[in-house]
C-alpha cells in the first residue's frame, strides 16, 4: 500500500489545500509535502537494494477484459526518481513562498497533483497506467505555466502541451499494438510491462518498417520529446522561460526525467534488437544535443533560457549514457538524471530568487552581483560547479561515468561529447562572469539601494539541502548507486531477454504472472 499512498496522498493534499483559508495554504502545504517526503523515506526501510526484482508490488485488476491492471512496483531504476520527486516538492513550496502571489490555492493544488502524476509514472508498471500518469502530468504543468507564468506564457504553455502530447499519442498506438501482441503470444491481452518484456517482437534487420523498429520509434519519439533530445527540444526553452520558478524547477528536475526513465524502462529492455540497430542514432542525437545545447546556451541573452539550453546539453549526456549500454554509461546516465534534478533544479531556484528582486533575467542587465549578494554568489557558484561537473560535486560522477561508458562503446562519439566538458564550463562561467563579476550594473545598483539583495533565511533553507546533496552525491556516490546497482546490472546482462521478477519478500501480494513465453 505504500506505493499507492505515495501517489494518492498528494492527490488528497491537493484537494485539501483547496479547502483551506488563504493564509494557511503555504504552511500547511509545506507541512503536507514534508509528510509526503517522509512517507517516501519509508521506502528506504522497505526496499532491498540487493534485489533486482520489483518490490512493494501492488497489482489489482482494473480493466480485466483487456488486461489492464493497476500495477505498481519499485526497483532500483525508479527508486531514486521517486525520492527526488518527493524531495523537491517541499523545496519548491518553500522556494515559491513569495514569488507565487496570486491564486495560491490553485497553485499548491496543481503542485500536489503534479507530484502525484510524476510519482505515479515512475511507479506504474502497467503500460496504460504509465501512459495515464505520463499524460496527466501535462495538465497541472499546463496550468502552472499558463496561470503563473511570464508574459508569453500562453504561447509557451500551448507549445509545451502540444509538443509533448504529439509524441505520446504515437506511444499510445504502440502501447495498443503491444497489448494485442500480448494477446497473440501470451493468450491474453495485457498491458503489464512484465508481460511485454516476454514478447518476441519481430525484428527484421535494418528495415524501418519492421514491427519492433516501428514500436521502438513510437516509444522513443514520446520520450525523446519529453527529454528533450535534439531536435525535439525547442519547446523547452520557451516553456522554461515562461514558467514560474517552481514550474521550471519541477519541469527540469523531474518531468524531463520521465522521458529518460521511459527509455530505461521501456525502450531498452523491450526492443533490444531494434535498439541495438539504432543505437548510433540515439548516441548521435545525444552527442549533438550535448554540443548543440552548450553552444546555443552560450549565446543566450536570458539567464533562464541559458539554463534551459544547458538542460538540453545535460540531458544529452543522460541519453548517451543510457545508450552506451554498459555498466558505466547506464549507471552514469541514471546518476546524471538525479544530478540534473538537483543542480538544474537549484539553478532555476536561484534564477528565480534573483528575478524576484530585480525582475530581470537579462544577462546584460546584471553585473557585479557578487558584491551585493555574497551568499547568493557563493551558492550560485557551487551549483555552477556542480553543473559543469567539477570533481567532488555530483555532476562529475555522472559525467565521468557517462563519458567512460561512451568511450568504451563509441570512442569517437565520446571524444566529441567530451568537448561538452569545455563548452559547459564556457557558457556557465561566461554567464557567471557577466552576472556576478565586473562593476555593479545600473540595475543592480538601483535594486541594491533598497537592500535585501542577498538570500534571506528562507532561501538559504531552500538551498541548503540542495547544496548538501551536491557534495554528498559527489563525495559518496556509492550511497546512491548501491540502490540502483542490481537493477542496472540485471537490465544490462539480460537486455536481450529481459525479465523482471516480482520480489515477494517485501510484498504480501502474490501477483506474478506465471505464463511463460510459448
Amino acid at each position: 500500500m505504500l506505493l499507492s499512498a505515495l501517489i494518492f496522498l498528494p492527490v488528497l493534499f491537493g484537494l485539501a489545500v483547496l479547502a483551506l483559508p488563504k493564509q494557511l495554504v503555504r504552511p500547511v502545504s509545506l507541512a503536507l509535502s514534508l509528510v509526503h517526503f517522509i512517507a517516501s523515506l519509508l521506502l528506504f526501510r522497505n526496499f532491498d537494494p540487493t534485489s533486482a526484482g520489483l518490490q512493494l508490488v501492488e497489482q489489482k485488476p482494473w480493466m480485466p477484459d483487456i488486461g489492464i491492471t493497476y500495477f505498481l512496483g519499485l526497483d532500483g531504476i525508479s527508486f531514486w526518481l521517486v525520492i527526488l520527486t518527493t524531495f523537491l516538492t517541499p523545496l519548491v513550496i518553500l522556494g515559491s513562498w513569495k514569488s507565487i502571489d496570486h491564486k495560491i490555492k490553485g497553485f499548491h493544488s496543481a503542485l500536489f497533483f503534479l507530484t502525484a502524476t510524476m510519482v505515479g509514472s515512475f511507479l506504474a508498471l502497467d503500460g496504460i497506467l504509465f501512459y495515464i500518469f505520463f499524460e496527466a502530468s501535462l495538465i497541472p504543468m499546463y496550468f502552472m505555466i499558463g496561470i503563473w507564468g511570464g508574459a508569453r506564457r500562453l504561447y509557451a504553455t500551448v507549445k509545451f502541451f502540444i509538443y509533448t502530447m504529439f509524441g505520446s499519442l504515437f506511444m499510445l498506438v504502440a502501447i495498443v499494438a503491444l497489448m494485442f501482441m500480448a494477446e497473440q503470444q501470451l493468450g491474453q491481452m495485457s498491458s503489464s510491462l512484465l508481460d511485454w518484456y516476454k514478447l518476441e517482437i519481430p525484428f527484421v534487420g535494418g528495415e524501418l518498417l519492421s514491427t519492433q523498429t516501428l514500436l521502438m520509434f513510437a516509444f522513443a519519439l514520446a520520450f525523446a520529446i519529453k527529454v528533450p533530445m535534439f531536435p525535439f527540444h525547442t519547446w523547452l526553452p520557451d516553456a522554461h522561460v515562461e514558467a514560474p520558478t517552481p514550474g521550471s524547477v519541477i519541469l527540469a528536475a523531474v518531468m524531463l526525467k520521465m522521458g529518460t526513465y521511459g527509455f530505461l524502462r521501456f525502450v531498452l529492455p523491450m526492443f533490444p534488437e531494434a535498439v541495438d540497430y539504432w543505437t548510433w542514432l540515439f548516441i548521435f542525437l545525444g552527442v549533438v544535443g550535448i554540443v548543440y545545447g552548450a553552444l546555443v546556451a552560450m549565446v543566450q541573452p536570458d539567464i533562464k533560457k541559458l539554463v534551459a539550453y544547458s538542460s538540453v546539453s545535460h540531458m544529452g549526456y543522460v541519453i548517451v549514457g543510457l545508450f552506451a549500454m554498459n555498466a558505466f554509461g547506464t549507471t552514469g546516465g541514471l546518476y546524471q538524471m538525479l544530478n540534473h534534478g538537483v543542480s538544474t533544479g537549484a539553478l532555476f531556484l536561484l534564477v528565480g530568487m534573483i528575478y524576484e528582486r530585480t525582475h530581470s533575467r537579462e544577462v546584460n542587465a546584471y553585473g557585479g552581483l557578487a558584491k551585493v549578494a555574497p551568499w547568493y554568489t557563493i551558492i550560485f557558484l557551487i551549483v555552477t560547479m556542480s553543473s559543469i561537473a567539477v570533481p567532488m560535486t555530483n555532476g562529475f560522477v555522472g559525467e565521468f561515468l557517462i563519458l567512460l561508458g561512451l568511450f568504451k562503446a563509441h570512442p569517437i562519439f565520446a571524444i566529441i561529447a567530451t568537448t561538452g566538458v569545455v563548452l559547459g564550463a564556457t557558457y556557465m562561467l561566461w554567464m557567471v562572469k557577466r552576472v556576478f563579476f565586473g562593476p555593479e550594473s545600473a540595475m543592480v545598483k538601483e535594486h541594491a539601494a533598497h537592500g535585501g539583495m542577498d538570500l534571506n533565511w528562507r532561501e538559504k533553507l531552500v538551498m541548503a539541502p540542495l547544496v548538501t546533496l551536491i557534495f554528498w552525491m559527489g563525495l559518496f556516490p556509492n550511497h546512491f548507486l548501491n540502490y540502483s546497482k542490481s537493477s542496472i546490472d540485471h537490465l544490462l546482462e539480460n537486455r536481450m531477454h529481459y525479465q523482471l521478477q516480482v520480489d515477494n519478500s517485501s510484498s504480501p501480494l502474490k501477483v506474478v504472472d506465471q505464463r511463460g513465453v510459448n
Binding site: 563579476f437 562593476p439 559518496f476
Partner: protein, 644 residues
C-alpha cells in the same frame, strides 16, 4: 586509524579546516586573524608532510611508498576508485615544496593583503588551493589526481578573479578555467583509454600492468593515452598551444601568482608525466611530442618575455618558458631533471614573484617597469633576494637554477630520446632568459629612478621580507641536492646527486649516452657564456645606454612588432576560434532552433490554418452549395464503388 593515515588526514585536513573557518567567516576584514589561521593550517600541513617524508626516508629505497585509503569513492561495474593517497619519492618532493613554499607565501600574504577588503575570503581560497594541490600530488590513482587537478583549476579561477569588480580580472579567471578545461578533457580521455586498456586507474597497478615493450607508431593505446594526458598537461602547465591563460592569470594577487602560477599548480603537468614516467617511456612518439612542445614553448615564451613592460607579465612568460624546460626534460626521459627543475624553479620563481609583489606593494599597485628604476636603494632586502633569484634563473654557476637547467640541457643532448637540436633550442632560450631577466632587474632596481613623484617606495614589512629571505636562501643552496656528477667530481668530498638517488627507484629510465665530461663541460660552458653575454647586453641596453633599445627595436622592425605583441596569439585565438564559435552558435540558434525546427512546427500549424481557410470558404452558409456537396459525395461514392 594508523599513524600514517593520521598524518595524511592532518596533511590534507589542516588546509581544509582552515578553508572552512575562513570560508564561513568570509566577510571578516581581520586580515591578521584570518591570515594566521590560514598560515597556521599551512604550517601544520608542512609539519605533517615533513613527518611523512621522514617516515618515507626510513623505508628501504625500493619500498618507499606509504599508502592510505580512506573510503571507496566510486564503484561501478569493474571500475572502482578509492579515496586513497600515496606518498612516494616523487610526491614527497612535491608535498614538501607545496606546503613549504605554500607556508611562506601564506605568510607573505598576511602582509600583502593587510589592506584588502576581503582577506578572509582570500585566505580561504588559498587554503582550499593547498588542499586541492595536495590531493593532486597525493592521489594514488588518476581519478583522485584529477579531483585535485580540477580543484586547483577552480581555486586558480577564484583567485585570479579575486578582484572580480574589474571585468578584465574576472575574464582572466574565466579564461584560465576554460583553457584548463580543454586540457582536462584530454586528461579525461587519457584516463578512459588507460582504464579500458589496463582495467585500473591506480598508479601502482597501472605501472605494473604496462607491457615491457615500447609501442611503435601513433595509434597504440599507450601512445594515445600519453598524448591525451599530455594535452591535459599543456593546459595545466601552460604549454603551447594552451599557454595563453597564464600571462592573463597575473590579474590575481601577486602571492597567488607566486604560489599557483609559478611554484605549484602549473607544475602539475610535469608532475603527472613524471608520475607516469613508466607509461611515457613506452610511447617514444609521445615523448618526442612532449620534448618538442616543451622546447618550443621554452623558446617561444622566452622571446615574448624580451619585450614585456609589466613586471608580472615578464615573470609569467618566464614561467611558461621554464615549464617548457621541464617538459623538455621529461620528453627526453630526464624525469629526475624535470623534478629537479620543478623544485628549484619553485624556489626562485616564487621568490621573484613575491619580490615583484613586494615591489608592486611598494609602488602602490604599479606594475609597469618603465615607471620604476633605482628601487635598489629604497628596497634593499627585496633587491637582494631578487638578485639571488635573478642569478639562479639565468643559470649563474652553482646556484639552484644553474644545476637543474644544465642538467636538462645536458640530458636533452645526451639522452637517447634527445637531439642536439633540442639542446640548441634550450640554449637559445636560456640566453633569452638571461636577457629579459637582466632587463627586468635593470629596469626595476638599477639605474636611475623613473618613479612618479607622488609614489614613495618603501621596504615591505617583515611578514613579507622573511619569506623572501628564506626563498632566497633556498634559491642559493637548493640546487645542491642535485649536483651534476661532473661538477660533483670536482668538489672536495664528491657529493653525490642525492636527488637522482632518491628518485631513481620511482622513475622509469631511458638509456643515456655516457658522454665524456669534456663534452658536458663544453656544452655547459657554451650555455653559461651565452647567458653571460645576453646578460651583459641587457645591462648595457638598460643601464649603460638606455637609448639603445629603441634603435635595436627599430632594426628588428616587423619582428620586434610581432614579439612585443606576443605574436598576436590571443588575437588570433579570438578571431579564428572564439569568435567563429560564438558567431556559429548564434547562427545555430537563429537558423536551427528558431529558423528550422520551430519554423517546421509553425509550418505544420500554418498548414492546418491554411486548410482551415480552405474549409471556411467551403462553408459559406449557402444551402444549395451544401446540397451540392451531398450530391457530390453520393456521386463520388457511387462512382468509386461501382464504376472505378
Amino acid at each position: 586509524m594508523d599513524q600514517n593515515s593520521l598524518l595524511f588526514a592532518i596533511l590534507l585536513g589542516a588546509p581544509l579546516v582552515g578553508f572552512f573557518i575562513n570560508g564561513l567567516n568570509f566577510r571578516s576584514h581581520n586580515s591578521k586573524l584570518s591570515g594566521s589561521i590560514a598560515t597556521g593550517a599551512a604550517i601544520i600541513s608542512f609539519i605533517a608532510a615533513a613527518l611523512l617524508v621522514k617516515e618515507l626516508i626510513h623505508l628501504p629505497p625500493e619500498a618507499r611508498q606509504i599508502k592510505s585509503s580512506f573510503f571507496s569513492w566510486m564503484a561501478v561495474g569493474d571500475f572502482s576508485v578509492d579515496a586513497a593517497f600515496l606518498v612516494d619519492a616523487i610526491s614527497a618532493i612535491m608535498i614538501l615544496v607545496i606546503t613549504g613554499v605554500g607556508s611562506l607565501i601564506h605568510l607573505f600574504s598576511v602582509g600583502y593583503m593587510a589592506h584588502d577588503e576581503k582577506p578572509a575570503k582570500y585566505f580561504a581560497y588559498l587554503n582550499l588551493f593547498l588542499f586541492n594541490m595536495l590531493l593532486l600530488v597525493l592521489g594514488d590513482n588518476l581519478l583522485v589526481m584529477f579531483v585535485g587537478w580540477e580543484g586547483v583549476g577552480l581555486c586558480s579561477y577564484l583567485l585570479i578573479g579575486f578582484w572580480y569588480t574589474d571585468p578584465a580580472k574576472a575574464a582572466a579567471g574565466m579564461k584560465a578555467f576554460i583553457t584548463n578545461r580543454i586540457g582536462d578533457a584530454g586528461f579525461l580521455i587519457g584516463i578512459f583509454i588507460l582504464f579500458l586498456t589496463f582495467g585500473t586507474v591506480t598508479f601502482t597497478d597501472l605501472l605494473s600492468r604496462l607491457p615491457s615493450v615500447a609501442e611503435v607508431g601513433w595509434t597504440g593505446p599507450i601512445t594515445l593515452a600519453s598524448l591525451a594526458l599530455f594535452i591535459g598537461a599543456t593546459g595545466k602547465s601552460a604549454q603551447m598551444p594552451l599557454y595563453v591563460w597564464l600571462p592573463d592569470a597575473m590579474a590575481g594577487p601577486t602571492p597567488v601568482s607566486a604560489l599557483i602560477h609559478a611554484a605549484t599548480m602549473v607544475t602539475a603537468g610535469v608532475y603527472m608525466i613524471v608520475r607516469l614516467s613508466g607509461l611515457f617511456v613506452l610511447a617514444p612518439n609521445a615523448m618526442l611530442v612532449v620534448a618538442c612542445v616543451g622546447a618550443f614553448t621554452a623558446l617561444f615564451a622566452a622571446t615574448i618575455g624580451l619585450t614585456q613592460w609589466d613586471i608580472k607579465k615578464v615573470l609569467a612568460y618566464s614561467t611558461v618558458s621554464q615549464l617548457g624546460y621541464m617538459f623538455l626534460a621529461a620528453g627526453v626521459g630526464a624525469f629526475g631533471a624535470a623534478m629537479f627543475h620543478l623544485m628549484t624553479h619553485a624556489f626562485f620563481k616564487a621568490l621573484m614573484f613575491l619580490g615583484s609583489g613586494s615591489v608592486i606593494h611598494a609602488m602602490h599597485e604599479e606594475q609597469d617597469i618603465r615607471k620604476m628604476g633605482g628601487l635598489r636603494k629604497q628596497m634593499p632586502i627585496t633587491h637582494a633576494t631578487f638578485f639571488v633569484g635573478w642569478l639562479a634563473i639565468i643559470g649563474f654557476p652553482m646556484l639552484s637554477g644553474f644545476m637543474s637547467k644544465d642538467e636538462i640541457l645536458w640530458k636533452s643532448y645526451s639522452s637517447s630520446a634527445g637531439h642536439p637540436l633540442l639542446w640548441f633550442v634550450g640554449v637559445v632560450a636560456a640566453a633569452c632568459t638571461s636577457f629579459y631577466m637582466t632587463r627586468l632587474m635593470a629596469l626595476t632596481f638599477w639605474g636611475g629612478s623613473r618613479v612618479p613623484k607622488e609614489t614613495h617606495p618603501h621596504e615591505s614589512p617583515p611578514t613579507m621580507t622573511i619569506p623572501l629571505i628564506v626563498l632566497g636562501i633556498l634559491s642559493l643552496v637548493g640546487g645542491w641536492i642535485g649536483i651534476p656528477h661532473v661538477i660533483g667530481a670536482l668538489i672536495p668530498g664528491h657529493p653525490e646527486n642525492y636527488l637522482e638517488h632518491w628518485l631513481a627507484p620511482a622513475l622509469a629510465t631511458v638509456p643515456m649516452e655516457e658522454g665524456s665530461s669534456i663534452l658536458e663541460f663544453s656544452l655547459m660552458g657554451i650555455s653559461v657564456s651565452l647567458a653571460a653575454i645576453a646578460a651583459w647586453f641587457a645591462f648595457d641596453f638598460y643601464v649603460v645606454h638606455p637609448e639603445r633599445p629603441k634603435a635595436v627595436a627599430a632594426w628588428f622592425g616587423r619582428f620586434y612588432e610581432a614579439v612585443s605583441n606576443k605574436y598576436w596569439v590571443d588575437e588570433i585565438y579570438q578571431a579564428r576560434i572564439i569568435q567563429p564559435i560564438v558567431d556559429g552558435s548564434k547562427a545555430l540558434w537563429a537558423y536551427v532552433d528558431v529558423g528550422f525546427v520551430d519554423r517546421l512546427t509553425y509550418f505544420a500549424s500554418d498548414v492546418v490554418l491554411g486548410a482551415g481557410g480552405m474549409l471556411r470558404s467551403m462553408q459559406n452558409g449557402r444551402t444549395q452549395q451544401y446540397a451540392l456537396y451531398i450530391a457530390l459525395g453520393l456521386a463520388i461514392t457511387i462512382y468509386w464503388v461501382l464504376v472505378g
